[in-house]
C-alpha cells in the first residue's frame, strides 16, 4: 500500500510542478493581469496593481524563502541580499530560517511537505538528486536572463540530468592552504608551488618544531577535501568527476596511487586527526602558530578571530603530473532553488533572477564578516576584503572547479555510513592493505540502490 502511495505522490508532485510552470509561463509573458493565483492579500495589493502600468513588469507579490543560515554572520548576509532584491523587484519576501543541521537533516521531508517557494541549497549532485525526484521546479526561464552573468561551469553545476537548470548559484569558497603571513616572514618561509617545495618546507617546519600541516577529521568530512585535491592533481578533473558519479571504480589502480601518495605525505600532516575537530586544527595553525599550514575551505579563517588579517592562503601545490595545467580545485557553490509547488512562482522567479545578478551576490558577500566570494565573474571585486580578493584570484587561476566529495557524489555514499567512515579507517591505519580497503569501498558503492 505504501508502495503504491509514493509513486502517486510523486506523479502528483510532478503534475503540480508542471502546472506551476504553465501558470508561471502564462504569467511571465506580457500578460497585464498579475497572475499570482493564490495567497494574494487582495485589499492592499489590488489598487497598486491597477495603478501600476503593466509595462513596469514588476511581478509584485509575496514569496517565501527557506534558509539554513542560522548563524548571525551568514544570516545577516541573506538578509542583505533579500533586502537588495526586495527593492529591485518589488517582491515582498518572508525569510524562514531553520537551524543549519536541522534543515540539512530534514530537507527531504521539508521539500515533500509545504516548503517555502525558494530554498537555500548546494550545487552539484545535491541539487540534482532533488530535481530527479521531481521535488523542484526547473528555472530555465530564470537562467535565460542570468546566463550572461555566469560561467559555463556554473551552469553545469546548476543543471540536472534532464538538461534543465534548477539552481541559482550565489557564492562560493575555494579549498586552499591557509597560513599566517607573519610566521612565514619571521621564519623566512616561501610559498611552495610544487610538491617537492612543499615537502622541503615541511621538513624545515618540523626542524623548527612546528607541525607542517594541521589536520582534524573528527567530523568525518575534512579529509574528503584532501582526497579530492590529491585525486584531481594526480588523475585529473575528468577522472575525479567520473569517480564521483560512479562511472569510474574505486578499485581502480589510479585511486590506489592517490592513497599511497597520501600515506607518504601523512608524516607532514598533524597526527591524531580522527580525534580533533577542524576548529581545533584551525586554531592550532591560525591562532597558536603551532602548525605552519592548514588545508581547508577558506571559511577556516573565521576561526582566526583577530588574527584574520594576518591569514594568507595559496592553492594546494602542483604535483608534476600532466594535470598540473588543469589546476583543478574544490570550490563548493551555495545558492538557491525553486521548490516543487511554489505558492507564487512569479514572485519567486523574480527573486531568483535578482539573486543571479552580480549586484545581489555582492550584497551577500560584502555583508560584514563573510569570507566567501560572489560566483559571477562580473562581480565588482574592488570592495572585497583582502581575503576575498585573494580567493577571487585563486578561483580565476583554476581551470576546473569541483564542488566537494559530499556534493559531487551521491549523499548516501559520501555520508557517515560511506566515505566518512572509510577515510577515517584509512587515517587510523594508512599502511593497511589498500586493495582490500578500496575493494570494500567499491563493494559498498555497489550495494547502494540505483539512482533514478
Amino acid at each position: 500500500m505504501v508502495g503504491l502511495a509514493a509513486p502517486w505522490r510523486r506523479n502528483g508532485l510532478i503534475t503540480l510542478a508542471s502546472l506551476a510552470i504553465i501558470v508561471s509561463a502564462c504569467g511571465g509573458g506580457a500578460s497585464p493581469t498579475p497572475a499570482a493565483p493564490s495567497a494574494a492579500p487582495p485589499a492592499s495589493e489590488a489598487p497598486a496593481a491597477s495603478e501600476a502600468p503593466p509595462a513596469s513588469a514588476a511581478p509584485a507579490g509575496d514569496t517565501t524563502l527557506g534558509s539554513n543560515e542560522s548563524d548571525a554572520v551568514p544570516k545577516a548576509a541573506v538578509a542583505a541580499m533579500v533586502d537588495y532584491c526586495q527593492t529591485q523587484t518589488g517582491v515582498n519576501v518572508k525569510v524562514n530560517t531553520t537551524d543549519h543541521n536541522t534543515f540539512q537533516n530534514q530537507i527531504s521531508s521539508y521539500l515533500q511537505a509545504k516548503p517555502d517557494d525558494v530554498a537555500k541549497w548546494f550545487a552539484g549532485n545535491r541539487v540534482r538528486f532533488f530535481a530527479a525526484q521531481g521535488l523542484l521546479s526547473p528555472i530555465d526561464d530564470v537562467w535565460a536572463e542570468i546566463e550572461k552573468y555566469m560561467t559555463p561551469g556554473l551552469k553545469v553545476a546548476s543543471t540536472a540530468a534532464d538538461g534543465k537548470t534548477y539552481f541559482v548559484p550565489v557564492y562560493q569558497y575555494p579549498w586552499v592552504v591557509l597560513y599566517r603571513k607573519s610566521l612565514f616572514t619571521e621564519k623566512g618561509y616561501t610559498i611552495p608551488k610544487t610538491m617537492d617545495e612543499f615537502k622541503a618546507l615541511g621538513d624545515k617546519m618540523k626542524a623548527d618544531g612546528l607541525v607542517p600541516l594541521a589536520f582534524g577529521d573528527q567530523d568525518g568530512w575534512p579529509a574528503m577535501g584532501t582526497f579530492d585535491i590529491l585525486n584531481m592533481r594526480m588523475n585529473g578533473y575528468t577522472f575525479h568527476m567520473g569517480l564521483m558519479n560512479g562511472t569510474e571504480k574505486w578499485s581502480d589502480p589510479r585511486v590506489k596511487a592517490v592513497f599511497e601518495k597520501w600515506a607518504e605525505l601523512l608524516p607532514y600532516f598533524q597526527e591524531g586527526a580522527p580525534g580533533r575537530t577542524w576548529q581545533d586544527a584551525a586554531k592550532l595553525a591560525l591562532v597558536d602558530k603551532k602548525a605552519g599550514m592548514y588545508f581547508l575551505g577558506t571559511f577556516a579563517n573565521e576561526q582566526a578571530g583577530e588574527n584574520a588579517p594576518d591569514v594568507g592562503f595559496f592553492p594546494f601545490p602542483l604535483m608534476g603530473t600532466q594535470y598540473d595545467s588543469e589546476n583543478a580545485i574544490d570550490a563548493p557553490i551555495d545558492g538557491f532553488m525553486l521548490t516543487g509547488n511554489p505558492a507564487n512562482p512569479e514572485a519567486a522567479k523574480a527573486l531568483l533572477k535578482c539573486f543571479g545578478t552580480p549586484e545581489a551576490q555582492l550584497a551577500y558577500v560584502l555583508s560584514p564578516g563573510l569570507t566567501s566570494v560572489a560566483v559571477s565573474p562580473l562581480a565588482d571585486t574592488s570592495k572585497y576584503t583582502d581575503v576575498q580578493k585573494a580567493q577571487a584570484e585563486i578561483l580565476k587561476g583554476a581551470g576546473f572547479i569541483a564542488q566537494f566529495l559530499d556534493r559531487d557524489a551521491r549523499a548516501d555514499f559520501a555520508g557517515p555510513s560511506g566515505m566518512q567512515g572509510f577515510l577515517l579507517s584509512f587515517l587510523n591505519d594508512p599502511k593497511q592493505d589498500l586493495d582490500k580497503f578500496l575493494g570494500e569501498i567499491q563493494a559498498y558503492y555497489d550495494t547502494l540502490p540505483p539512482q533514478e
Partner: protein, 324 residues
Amino acid sequence: MANDRTARSASATPPAAAGGVAATLPAPKKKHYSLLTRRDTITLWLMAGIPTLVVIVFILVPTVSSIVLSFTSWNGVGAIKFVGAQNYIDLVQTYKPFFPALAHNVIWLLFFLFIATPLGMFLAVLLDKNIRGTRIYQSAIYMPVVLSLAVVGFIWFLIYAPEQGLLNNVLGRTEQGNQISWLGNPSLNLWAVLIAASWRQVGYVMVLYLAGLKGVDPSLREAAAIDGANERQTFRHVVFPVMAPINMVILVITVIESLRAFDLAFIVNKGLNGLELLSTLVTNNIIGEASRIGFGSAIAVVLLVISVGPIIFYLFRTLREEIQ
C-alpha cells in the same frame, strides 16, 4: 422465572448440549442479563480502547512499518521497491560497521551492568549512612543526569581534546608524537565515551537506589544488628533481598539505557571510527537527503529483535508477580 433459568443454564452449558432447549425457546438471547450496565460497558470500552488505540498508532504501526520497510529499498522520496532480504544480506556481507556496532552495544551493556550500575548502588549505600555533607554529594553526583547530553558531550570534549584538553595536559601528553587521541583512537574512544556515559548513569542509579534504601524498614536493620550481623552481611542478606523490586527497576533501566545508547557517540563523531552503535547506524542511514530508509530499517529491526529479549523477560517477571 422459567425463562430466566433456562437462559442462564444455556449460557453456562456448551451450546451443543443446550441446542435442544434453545431450539424450543425462540428468543433466549434477548433475555441476556449482564452484570454490567450500559454505562459500565462504555467506560470499559473507553478504558481499554484508548490505550489500545494509542499503542496501535504509536507503537504497533511504526514497528510493523519498520519491519515492512526493511525489505524495501527507498530513498525517502521516490518509489518504494521491494528487494526481499537484500538489505539483511548487505548488512551482514558488505556493511563494515555492522558487527563492530553489535559488539559495541554488548560492551556498553556489560560496562553499565558490571561497572556503572554497581558503582551507583555503592554510592547510594554510602550516602544512605547520613555522612556529613551527604546532600552536597548527592547533588554533585546527580547533576550530570540533569544536564542535557549535548552539554555532557561538550564537557567531556574539553577533557579529552588532544591539545587543549584537560586530561592530556595533566598527563603532559600534548606534544606531537606522544599525544593520546582519546576520541580519535578507535581502540580507545569507546572506553572514553563509556566513562562519560557512566558519569551520568552512576548518578541516575544512585538516586533511584537511594530512594529505595530510604524505604527499607529500619526495624529490619535493627533486628539484623541484634542478631549480630555485620554491615556487609546485613546488606547482603537483609537489605538487598528487601530491595528486590528496586533492583528489578534498576536492571531494566540499565538494559534500556544500554540498548538506546546513542547521544554521546553521535555527538562525538556521528558514531564513526570505533564508536559505531546500532542506533547511530540507523540514524546515519535515515537522516539527510538520499537516505537509505529500507537499509536503516533493517538495522532498526535487528535492534528491535535484540530488545525483545529483555522486554519478554521483564514482562514475564512482572506478570508472574502480579498473578501471585
